[in-house]
C-alpha cells in the first residue's frame, strides 16, 4: 500500500524515439488507476518504468515517497501481472506462486499457508500440482494474479492482463479483478487498450496518445467532459459522432447548424458557453450514438438514409449517412421500437435523427479542444 508519484518522466530510446513525454501523475494510496490508449501510446512503457523493467530517461518515479529510479525491480516492492502470464513453465502452479516467497527465505509452513490461501481466493486449489501448460488461459492468468497477490506488495501493476483471453472470459475476469481489488485493498496501476476495461475498473483513467497524457479523470469525467476530440472518440463504443459545423451566437442565444439544420443550444450547455464567452466559430460537434434519437417529421431534425442496421440484441446500431455523405451511428434500445418499426429499418430507408442540446460536445475545429472543458 503506497502512493506512486511520477514527475516529468521521459522515455527516450537509443534510436532517439521518445516514447513518453513529460509524464506527470500522482497516484494516491489504494487508488486504482488505468492507463489507456491505442497501441504505441507509451502506456506499457510507463508501467514498465514504474516496475523498473525500463530505464527512466529523465524525471523521477517515487513509490511511497522514495525515489526508485535507480532501484532494481526486486527492491521496489511491486507485484506485476503480464499480458502473456509469464508463468515459469518448469514449475508447478504451487511453485510458481511460492517462487517470490521462497526468494524471501520465508519458512515453508508460511509459504504453504499463503499459497493455499491465494489459491482458494482465486479458485485454483485443485490445479496446484499441475504445470502451467496443463491449464487453460483463464486459469493461467489466475495463477499469474496469485503469484502477484501473495507478495503483499506496495503497488500492484497489471499490463494488459486480460488481452489474451476470449471475450466471455475477459468479462468474467474483469469482474473478478474488481472483487480482488476490494480484497487486496492496495494501489493498482492497470494498463489496457480497451476502454470498457478502463471505464469499469478505474477510479481514475489516464488517456494517453503518442507518449502524452490527453486527459486524467474519473470514468464519468472522461466520458462526459472529454477535453478533446481524441478522448471523446476513444471513450465510448461505438465512438462519438463528429459533425463539422458552425456554432452561431446571436446575442445570448446559440445555435449549431448540423447539415444546415439549425438546432438551438439551451439549458446548461448554453450557460456554460456563455460563461466561457464563446463566439461564433467553426466547430466539430460531438454527439454520442446513444444520445441520438429518431425524430418524427420535426423541423430541427437531420434527414438521412439508413445504410447498415446492426442488431446487437438489446439495441440497434443504425449506420446512416446524411445528404453530404457524412456517416453517423445511432444507437437505439430495441425495446423502444415496435416490431413494425424494426422491420421497416432496411437499407435506403429515409430517417430523421435529432439530439438534445445537453448531450452536445463542442470542439474547436482548429485546436480540437473542447470549447467548454478544453483547458
Amino acid at each position: 500500500m503506497a502512493s506512486v508519484k511520477l514527475t516529468d518522466v521521459k522515455k527516450i530510446y537509443e534510436n532517439k524515439v521518445t516514447a513518453v513525454h513529460d509524464f506527470n501523475l500522482e497516484i494516491a494510496d489504494k487508488e486504482f488507476v488505468v492507463f489507456v490508449g491505442p497501441s504505441g501510446c507509451g502506456k506499457s512503457t510507463t508501467l514498465r518504468m514504474i516496475a523498473g523493467l525500463e530505464d527512466i530517461s529523465d524525471g523521477t518515479v517515487e513509490i511511497d515517497g522514495v525515489v526508485v529510479n535507480d532501484l532494481q525491480p526486486k527492491d521496489r516492492d511491486i507485484a506485476m501481472v503480464f499480458q502473456n502470464y509469464a508463468l515459469y513453465p518448469h514449475m508447478t502452479v504451487y511453485d510458481n506462486i511460492a517462487f517470490s516467497l521462497r526468494l524471501q527465505k520465508m519458512p515453508e509452513d508460511q509459504v504453504y499457508e499463503k499459497v493455499t490461501n491465494a489459491a482458494e481466493i482465486l479458485g485454483i486449489t485443485e490445479y496446484l500440482t499441475r504445470k502451467p501448460r496443463a491449464l487453460s488461459g483463464g486459469q493461467r492468468q489466475r495463477v499469474a494474479i496469485g503469484r502477484a497477490m501473495v507478495r503483499n506488495a506496495k503497488v500492484f501493476l497489471m499490463d494488459e492482463p486480460l488481452s489474451n483471453l476470449d471475450a466471455k472470459l475477459r468479462n468474467q475476469m474483469r469482474a473478478e479483478i474488481i472483487l480482488l481489488r476490494q480484497k487486496l485493498d492496495t494501489t493498482f496501476v492497470y494498463v489496457t487498450h480497451d476502454q470498457t476495461e478502463a471505464m469499469t475498473l478505474g477510479d481514475r483513467i489516464v488517456i494517453m496518445r503518442d507518449g502524452i497524457i490527453e486527459q486524467v479523470g474519473t470514468p464519468t469525467e472522461v466520458f462526459e467532459m472529454p477535453r478533446n476530440i481524441f478522448v471523446a472518440e476513444f471513450i465510448g463504443a461505438p465512438k462519438m459522432n463528429m459533425i463539422e459545423t458552425e456554432l452561431v451566437r446571436k446575442g445570448d442565444q446559440y445555435f449549431v447548424m448540423p447539415f444546415g439544420t439549425p438546432i438551438g443550444v439551451t439549458g446548461e450547455k448554453r450557460e456554460e458557453l456563455l460563461k466561457k464567452n464563446v463566439q461564433s466559430c467553426n466547430i466539430v460537434l460531438g454527439v454520442r450514438p446513444e444520445h441520438m434519437v429518431l425524430a418524427d417529421d420535426s423541423d430541427d431534425a437531420i434527414p438521412c438514409k439508413l445504410e447498415v442496421n446492426e442488431m446487437m440484441g438489446s439495441e440497434l446500431h443504425l449506420h446512416v449517412y446524411t445528404e453530404d455523405e457524412t456517416r453517423l451511428i445511432v444507437r437505439i434500445p430495441t425495446i423502444n421500437l415496435s416490431m413494425d418499426q424494426r422491420k421497416s429499418l432496411v437499407f435506403g430507408k429515409e430517417l430523421k435523427v435529432t439530439f438534445e442540446s445537453k448531450v452536445m460536445h463542442f470542439f474547436d475545429k482548429e485546436t480540437q479542444k473542447n470549447l467548454i472543458y478544453g483547458d
Binding site: 516496475a51 523498473g52 523493467l53 532494481q72 525491480p73 526486486k74 511491486i78 507485484a79 506485476m80 503480464f82 499480458q83 502473456n84 502470464y85 509469464a86 508463468l87 515459469y88 513453465p89 518448469h90 517462487f99 517470490s100 526468494l103 524471501q104 504445470k131 502451467p132 501448460r133 496443463a134 491449464l135 488461459g137 493461467r140 503469484r147 507478495r151 501493476l157 489474451n164
Partner: protein
C-alpha cells in the same frame, strides 16, 4: 472422359502408397548399410583388445585366444597417468567452459550494452581462424608460466577454456527463444539476475546445458594437437591420445597394438556412458505453457 477422371486418381493414390513403401525400404536399407560400415571399426577394436596370442596387428578379426592380458598390461605403462591427465583436463574444462559459455550466452541474449553487436561480429570473425595459428606463441607463453611438459595439464586447461566464450552461438540462440517476460516476472518477484539464470533460464534450457557440457568435455578428451605440442615429449604431461599414439610407431606396434586397442576401449567408456545418460535431454521440449500458446 468422365470415366478416366474417376479412375485415374484412385490409381495414382495406390501408386503413391506403393512408391512410399519402396522409398522407405530403400532408405532403411541404406541406413543399415551405413551403420554397419560405421560400427565395424569399433567392433574390431573391442575384439582385438581381448586378443592374447599375438600383440601386433593381424589379418583376422576374431581372437583365437581370449583374455584380459592387454588391459592388465596397460597398467604397467604410463597409461593411468595419461588417463588421469586427460580426465582432469576434460572435467575441469567441461565445468569451467560450461559456466563461461552459459554466462556469456545469457549476457548476450538478455543484456543490451554498447558494442554488443560489434563484439558478436568480432568473435564470429575471430572464430574463423584456426586455433592452431596461435600454437607457437601459446607454447612460448605457457613455457614462461611453467605450464608445459610435465605440467602440461593446467596449461592445456588454460588453452581449452581461454576462447570458450566464443562458443556462445548455440546457447544464445536457445536463450533467445525463452520469453523475456519470464526474466521480468522473476525479477519483479525478487530475483537477482543470477537467480533468474539459475532458477528460470537454466532449468528451461536443460538440453542446451547438456549439449554444452558434452561438447566442452569432448574437445579436451579427444584432443591431440595441443596436447602433443604442450607436453613436448614428456610422458608425464601427455594425454591418452598423445601417449597411445606412440605405440603405433613402427618399432613399437608389434608389441603394443592390442594394448592400444584396449586403451581405446577404456577411453571410449566414459564418453559412451555420458552420452547414454544425457541423451534423453536432447529431445526434451520444455517451454510449453510458459506464455500464451
Amino acid at each position: 472422359m468422365s470415366e478416366k477422371n474417376i479412375t485415374n486418381p484412385m490409381k495414382r493414390h495406390m501408386g503413391l502408397k506403393t512408391s512410399r513403401a519402396i522409398g522407405n525400404t530403400a532408405i532403411y536399407a541404406l541406413l543399415i548399410c551405413i551403420s554397419i560400415i560405421w560400427l565395424v571399426p569399433f567392433v574390431c577394436i573391442v575384439l582385438q583388445s581381448f586378443r592374447v596370442e599375438l600383440k601386433g596387428p593381424v589379418g583376422y578379426v576374431l581372437p583365437k585366444q581370449w583374455g584380459l592380458d592387454n588391459y592388465k598390461a596397460l597398467f604397467q605403462t604410463d597409461f593411468p597417468r595419461w588417463y588421469a591427465n586427460t580426465f582432469i583436463a576434460a572435467l575441469v574444462t567441461a565445468v569451467l567452459q560450461t559456466i563461461i559459455v552459459l554466462c556469456m550466452s545469457y549476457t548476450l541474449s538478455r543484456f543490451r550494452f554498447k558494442m554488443r553487436k560489434p563484439l558478436m561480429r568480432f568473435m564470429l570473425i575471430l572464430g574463423m581462424f584456426p586455433g592452431m595459428l596461435t600454437m607457437i606463441i601459446l607454447y612460448r607463453v605457457l613455457k614462461d608460466l611453467g605450464m608445459t611438459q610435465a605440467n602440461a595439464v593446467p596449461g592445456l586447461i588454460l588453452v581449452y577454456i581461454a576462447s570458450s566464450g566464443m562458443g556462445y552461438y548455440v546457447s544464445k540462440g536457445f536463450f533467445d527463444t525463452i520469453p523475456k517476460s519470464l526474466d521480468e516476472a522473476a525479477r519483479v518477484d525478487g530475483a537477482t539476475r543470477f537467480q533468474v539464470l539459475k532458477k528460470i533460464i537454466l532449468p528451461l534450457s536443460k538440453p542446451i546445458v547438456i549439449y554444452t557440457i558434452l561438447t566442452a568435455f569432448m574437445g579436451p578428451w579427444g584432443d591431440y594437437v595441443f596436447a602433443q605440442y604442450i607436453s613436448f615429449g614428456t610422458s608425464a604431461g601427455m594425454n591418452v591420445a598423445v601417449g597411445m599414439y606412440r605405440w603405433l610407431n613402427k618399432d613399437q606396434i608389434a608389441a603394443s597394438y592390442t594394448m592400444f586397442c584396449a586403451g581405446g576401449v577404456l577411453v571410449a567408456i566414459p564418453v559412451t556412458v555420458l552420452f547414454m545418460c544425457l541423451q534423453k535431454y536432447y529431445v526434451e521440449g520444455v517451454t510449453g505453457g510458459a506464455v500464451k500458446g
